[in-house]
Symmetry: D2
Subunit: 344 residues, 4 copies
């Protein structure tokens, strides 16, 4: 068994980690921390986990955590970079579900996150944990930066195109939609039921922290910058994310769909839906899957619409983190991630 | 008082017409028809209207309807074109909330709607009832084609740009989102609560009937074709629609926002939100309003994001129909349309 | 015009007051206060009110407020009792939407609200503003205690029975359900979208502040105590409240329905639905109405089920407050309260 | 491996069976039928099951089905009774998720279901599959009548009380709430998103088919009739059911909670929540669990409130069916039913 720790277990990505780790046949949850809930039993705070998790939250402590084989950080930005160096030193592997190690450039990180980076020297080492793009790097990593939810959906939705010669110049439009859980479990008026239900809005249209991460992902894949317009929207549902990608590309929908099918043929979690189909976010609810549809808008030449859906908390956060751990520890990549979506 | 009739009063646009007409100070509902519910009292089918509407549904009958001053068609496509000629002959004014008179070209209509047009001779005469664009035509019209919900949101969201020299070449991307009421009140599995709730999907990405209408609207405004990519999405909320418009345009967000503010300064129902603000669909819930935000995506030159929200059943259907009637009959344009959104 | 002030205009009952007052033909909003948002324009905080309210929030100040003819308190419990005496002194009429003046007995108030009452001498004078039960008292009142949402639904649902000899002994069961807006606009984890959506729970089953208010209401109406079991439930919808009342009573459903119809025949806002019908909360969404259904459970003698629905923010709070003001100032009782429910 | 067949695999209970069977380590789905979708691949109709189920729907055929070890009927009422005799004859075990074998009395069945029973001789033999009450009978049964969702929630919520001497005379009030999936996947206006969302209503208050089943369950457990008032409500959520049970009973909440804890101590799926806690339906979302809370209403002697939550599609239908199969075949009772609720 692999002993894992979770730092910051009371938010939504922490809860999702708890669910996935508790069912994973090769993982044992050894430690779960929370500054605010230290001493509280996990199943007291989350009664749905009664019988599944027999632990209490503890104060985050590097000494105790360093006894784990791997530590997940499901914390606000800025926490992981403070603790990761000591854990790595102690031989732990670290997977950060926050943003601390996602951007290679510490200046860019500081610009978007408003803090000086605490360990810029680790940025180069950290593997960017989108296994479909960087599996080899994850395999040998001590430290994995788990991608943001939007960068995951956009990255998977564009990967085959940006690594091909079918992509034409011109900005890629990433019109994205997320369920409310993406905003986290902190008490805020804007995500109250009565504010978020029965309404839709864009946000961050003039700039959002996931934009530099998306740009870095696409630039890395293509080898040159890819101009990107990124507009996220908040949708009245708990989970689910769709990236609707409007891209100038050479070829018919059939050709481009074939490109995607070929690229993802061996991927356990990514699937291209048949011609004419539109993936629905509920198809991957609670699962680590990504479904991708490719459409050609009528009457507009050399333009394609790619639809990519994921569950923002699973493939967009905790599921991908477990997938990365599976890769890092040489486990079967789908271990503990065989959920079937609960429908309806 | 102006006597109005509603043909097809049992769908969602019919219900919304009932609500608006029942509160309009200068309208009297004289006739409401339904093939399926003929003989049923309106407040028996819709108990929320108890005390508001003292009528029963009747079989649609041109003789009875022609006693009205104006007749709204809230019917499936293909009904209005069968009855409108006789009503116009009898001196009625007709406002069709369906698609029968929206496309000028009968061949295009037949291509998208799968029926031969019953009175192609009226297509030229019909005014396209987007008052912000075609008020003069509506003013003198006997027959008004009430725009579709998506064409209304996209049309209002692009009107100032497509009529200016700031628009650059390249396709306009209209990434649109609608509440479920846009799919109507017919019993279908796809719009059951358990299918539509807690999920999001695109639909019609390879072709949707509102596309030729949007293209016609933009071509009419600009005087030349405007290439358009149109992808609608279904969102788990009852009402509300947003068009997120990605457009290549010259100028800063400030300049383009100023262009919008100037164009809409005198419009009673359209409002441009301040810099940095993102309109929410709930702000116009149940009202005839349209709110528009203009954003500039960081790092991409000559590209703008326009966010336009409406209530798909009000400004996107019944409210705009009443607005058109107000214009046609010389009433104050906002008469009967002074709803304040019910929040939360 | 009657000048009104609203103290505490940023919560959900305050927002509903804003909507109703802005449309009321005889009211002018003269002052609206908020400690937290003092200086902010109302339409900046609530963009849906753009064009409807041309005021900024101010610090609550008795001097300024006392220039109003009437002042609504839409504040947390304990605020109104601090300011009401001075306002009454200055000649203002006061309607408290909070709980400060609802319980006659200051000891009971202190027991349930955990504060000593600041002006117990006013408790006797305050009229309990359920006009259907106490219209005369409201008519001549300087100070009205606007009932809680649950006590309104339960009170209207039981009024005809508890004032008749058909009620049998034994506890009345009030199994109640509310939308989430009843919990207010304060940022709390429990009412986040992701906590409250797609779930149902009872709360306060071992004791809830509205219980003593319900007991007082029923005792006042009957002239003797009525044992009451009160269990509220939280339902994933924004607005709406139902009281399902299980009562031992003599007579058939028809007889009891007739009793209700007779009692409420002259009431403008209460309506008894036909035999066999089940009222739905959406029928009164955004309106001041109350709909009541009476059913007889098969196979159980002398037992009746009464279903009473209201909108918790309208008839359950702000609408009833405006109704009380109408009564107090001799206006037509339905003035400003003629909303038709927005359906779907 | 045990080969199972599902008759009627396209409704919501059929979908839930598909999910559970596909994950059950000892079950192999051998046959799945649908009259309407015969020939369609399961994962074409339900894309979320892509990669999980490699079968197409077939026409229901006794010959093919009889090769299964066990057959689930997830069909409308009246289908199972037509096919069960032949399947039993062929040596299959049968679990009917419909109502055909739930009522012992064929006259009562005909009264409530409007059909003559096709094989009344099997009614006596059929085990009523509430394992917590009738495990022994299920163990040896060829034919199991899987309980209705409401009878499951009410039965589990009352079992310890009705089998004890703490229950007092007087009607038991079962005020129940269900998510919309209980109404099935048939296309009906009443369960459209726009009709069911943002509203709550009671239904069947004057008589519902689950009432005689509840009465039979309680009578069987107690040995004498238990007068029952049953009022179901429709709640805007997909899954989830709560029975709020108002019962006259001797003893404090502590004593009655202890009674429940003792009775359910060895039950794998039923759990009593701590004093003061209110179970939430989401705690058991997608799981076979039942959570029960016991409260004492203040000021009313000898009265208790029991709150029982289940997932109507899992413990209320397909999960319980799998649990029954596990019992019938001597498998570990929790096999294939170890889901952790997906929260949020």
């Amino acid at each position: 068994m692999i002993d894992v720790g979770i730092v910051g277990g009371t938010g939504y990505t922490g809860m999702e980690l708890l669910r996935l780790v508790s069912r994973h046949p090769q993982l044992r949850l050894a430690e779960i921390t929370s500054r605010g809930e230290s001493g509280t039993r996990v199943d007291e705070l989350f009664p749905a986990l009664e019988g599944e998790v027999d632990l209490a939250f503890t104060e985050p402590d590097v000494g105790r955590l360093s006894r784990c084989d791997a530590v997940f950080f499901a914390t606000p930005n800025g926490i992981a970079m403070g603790m990761a160096p000591a854990l790595l030193e102690a031989g732990c592997r670290v997977i950060d579900l926050g943003a601390d190690f996602r951007l290679r450039d510490p200046a860019l990180w500081q610009e978007w996150y408003g803090m000086e980076h605490a360990c810029p020297g680790l940025l180069e080492e950290a593997a960017y944990g989108l296994p479909e793009a960087h599996r080899e790097a994850v395999l040998s990593a001590r430290l994995v930066a788990n991608p943001g939810c939007y960068p995951t959906a956009v990255g998977l939705g564009l990967l085959p195109l940006v690594t091909s010669d079918r992509l034409k110049s011109g900005p890629v439009i990433a019109d994205c939609k997320t369920g409310v859980s993406g905003a986290g479990r902190a008490a805020k008026v804007a995500t109250l039921f009565c504010e978020a239900d029965e309404s839709l809005k864009a946000y961050g249209a003039s700039g959002h922290r996931h934009l530099p991460e998306i740009e870095q992902t696409l630039r890395t894949l293509r080898g040159e910058p890819v101009e990107t317009v990124f507009v996220p929207h908040l949708v009245p549902m708990i989970r689910g994310m769709q990236a609707t990608l409007h891209v100038a590309a050479r070829g018919s929908a059939e050709e481009i769909r074939a490109l995607y099918q070929e690229r993802y043929a061996a991927e356990p979690f990514v699937e291209v839906v048949p011609a004419g189909a539109h993936p629905e976010t509920r198809w991957v609810r609670g699962t680590n899957g990504c479904r991708i549809g490719v459409h050609q808008p009528p009457g507009v030449a050399d333009q394609v619409v790619v639809l990519a859906v994921i569950d923002n908390l699973t493939k967009g956060a905790a599921g991908q983190a477990v997938q990365n751990l599976n890769v890092m520890f040489g486990l079967e990549e789908g271990a503990g991630l065989r959920e079937v979506a609960t429908l309806p």
